[in-house]
Amino acid sequence: MSMEFLMATGIGALTSVGLYLILQWRTFPVVVGLSFLSYAVNVFLFTMGRLTINQPPIVNTEASGYTDPLPQALVLTAIVITFGMTALIVVLSLRAYLETGDDGVAVEPPRPDASGTDRTPIGPGGEATR
């Protein structure tokens, strides 16, 4: 029971930390929060094949039982994918910070007084930048 309790509280703690951080204003906490969420889900995927100790994953004549090898394959795939995604979002938030000088998450509404954007309110929007 104790191992199940440990895993469950661990996953719960990781998830709640991740959720809290995702709801922050700045991009850095959001990125860290996303990492925490992906750690939580990785541990969660491990437990989905049930927690068994000292059992072989493949057929063995002397085995008294088996552990499920599939979650490990799934976790590996998930780790690789989330690692790539995290790298991407880190680069993206760095670029956004360097280009705008602001690491806020919110998209600024266009200012009506800035460089005549108000002059053509019905032009197809969103293409003003190169």
Partner: protein, 505 residues
């Protein structure tokens, strides 16, 4: 031999993208030729696969020839074939439209485009829940690149939201997959469909949690209110060709909803039968109404198209939520025509943009402003659902299918009233765009990128063809819906393994 062709919609874009990145990095002209040829081949293969699935047979491709519930499989049925043809059509037209204009504003446009097609085709073909996740990630990571293509601060900011919401979506997807695997012990869709009805009483709640978490993920992908807010800034700030291709990404979400909630959690799923249906119709109604209100408030063509897309997803979700054969057939017809219409609308918004001035004069076309106005009129009519175009037929079919539903009054009112409001929004934006624009009266001569214009005309022709051929198309959609509502055939064809496991332990 059909069996080995099933893997081609994945192999062709994957190989093309690799060649584009590795061998043709420095020659844009070479990239263009290979990319268009590859897209054309994919379209042709998709049509061939459609023809082979048209007799109602369901064929599976076993990767590495592992028997069905254990290995990775690709499954071709009518629905997958229909969606493949749609993505083949959009791939070919959109990549051609991007040539000479948007593909030179940043690097690797064509490689990203092919990876995106790989992800989309894979999501349609896969017969395994975890591989659906993997192909979602493939199409997403390519779409991040395409979305940011061309750079700019607006794209960076909107891109951060887009990536973040989809990362959260992926995490939720994994949680859902984990729960479903923990309860049922398999992730093969056919195997799941066979085992879900036998789940023990004590595990039903857990499995329902997994099923509904999965619905949340698909709701993000298909821009279902309240998970729609990422779509307008993303599609509104990306390049028009990318947005034109993204028009099919919302349908990937809708496709997944149809697939999972007819096959695995469909009418025959025992205690979990039709678990998504009570959520889909209200969420669809809300999406339709909020999308329409936002479209009414839109200040630009692009913004209007984005919110109209949200509204059309609402209509589609309502039709799926009817969970009847007629509703599903109507939903499929509506999904196909609205994908083509929105792809055309995004290309049109790009043509109307003042920013579309980067092409060489030789690749431009001088047009009377009235031509673009006429295209806008046609596409707007198809989107709103005015007769005689396909949008009207799609909505009519949905309304007809809703007659059997208990919520018929609400559904009819919502669809009809929002159509009127959308008409007002499109008419108002059209008037301000073409008649009272900042540059005076319309018959101005505009210079637009030639290929993008031609491809938009092709898409309009496809919409016209879908309207004219509505009878035969609808017969096929009805047959597709019939196949979807009888998951026994799917389960039977997938699980009968051609290579029986030897020995075994």
């Amino acid at each position: 031999m059909t069996h080995s062709w099933i893997v081609m919609p994945l192999v062709i874009p994957a190989m093309t993208a690799a060649v584009l990145v590795l061998a043709l990095r420095h020659t844009l002209q070479g990239q263009r030729i290979i990319s268009v040829v590859s897209a054309a081949i994919q379209f042709a293969v998709a049509i061939g696969l459609y023809a082979s699935a048209a007799d109602g047979s369901i064929s599976a491709y076993l990767l590495g020839d592992w028997p069905a519930p254990f290995g990775i499989i690709l499954v071709l049925d009518r629905l997958a074939a229909t969606m493949l043809v749609l993505s083949g059509l959009l791939g070919l037209t959109v990549v051609t439209a991007a040539i000479g204009e948007w593909d030179q504003r940043g690097r690797h446009f064509h490689a990203l485009f092919q990876f995106q097609l790989l992800g989309i085709n894979g999501a349609f073909l896969t017969g395994d829940l975890f591989n659906l996740f993997v192909f979602f990630e493939v199409l997403l990571i390519a779409s991040y690149g395409l979305m940011l293509h061309g750079g700019g601060t607006a794209r960076m900011k909107a891109g951060f939201h887009y990536v973040a919401i989809n990362l959260i979506g992926s995490t939720v997807f994994l949680f859902a997959v984990g729960i479903i695997y923990a309860v049922v012990g398999t992730l093969n869709m056919a195997d799941l469909a066979a085992k879900v009805p036998q789940v023990s009483e004590s595990n039903v709640g857990l499995l329902a949690t997994g099923a509904l978490l999965l619905l949340t993920v698909f709701a993000i992908k298909s821009a279902m209110v309240p998970l729609h807010w990422w779509l307008p800034p993303t599609y509104g700030s990306t390049s028009p060709p990318a947005a034109a291709l993204f028009a099919i990404m919302t349908k990937v979400g809708a496709y997944s909803i149809i697939r999972v909630y007819t096959l695995i959690f469909g009418a025959e799923a025992g205690p979990l039968a039709d678990i998504a249906a009570p959520w889909l119709v209200p969420a669809g109604l809300l999406t339709l109404v909020l999308g329409t209100i936002a479209a009414l408030a839109a200040r630009s063509v692009l913004n209007l198209v984005c919110y109209a897309l949200v509204a059309s997803m609402g209509t589609l979700l309502i039709a799926i939520g009817l969970s009847s054969e007629a509703g599903l057939a109507a939903a499929l017809y509506y999904a196909v025509q609205s994908t083509v219409v929105f792809s055309g609308l995004f290309l049109l918004a790009g043509l109307l943009s003042r920013d579309a001035n980067a092409t060489a004069p030789a690749q431009r076309l001088r047009l009377n402003g009235n031509v673009l106005a006429a295209c806008y009129l046609l596409l707007a009519m198809a989107m709103i659902g005015l007769p005689p175009l396909a949008g009207f037929l799609g909505k009519l079919l949905i309304l007809d299918a809703a007659r059997a539903d208990s919520q018929v009054v609400i559904i009819w009112t919502a669809i009809l009233v929002t159509s009127l409001i959308l008409l007002v929004s499109f008419a108002r934006t059209g008037i301000r765009m073409f008649w009272t624009g900042p540059e005076g009266k319309t018959p101005e001569i505009r210079s637009v990128p030639k290929r993008a214009f031609q491809m938009m005309m092709v898409l309009i022709a496809v919409v016209a063809a879908l309207s004219l051929m509505a009878g035969p198309v609808m017969t096929n959609m009805a047959a597709t819906a019939e196949q979807l509502m009888a998951p026994k055939t799917y389960i039977g064809s997938v699980l009968k393994s051609p290579a029986p496991p030897q020995g075994g332990g």
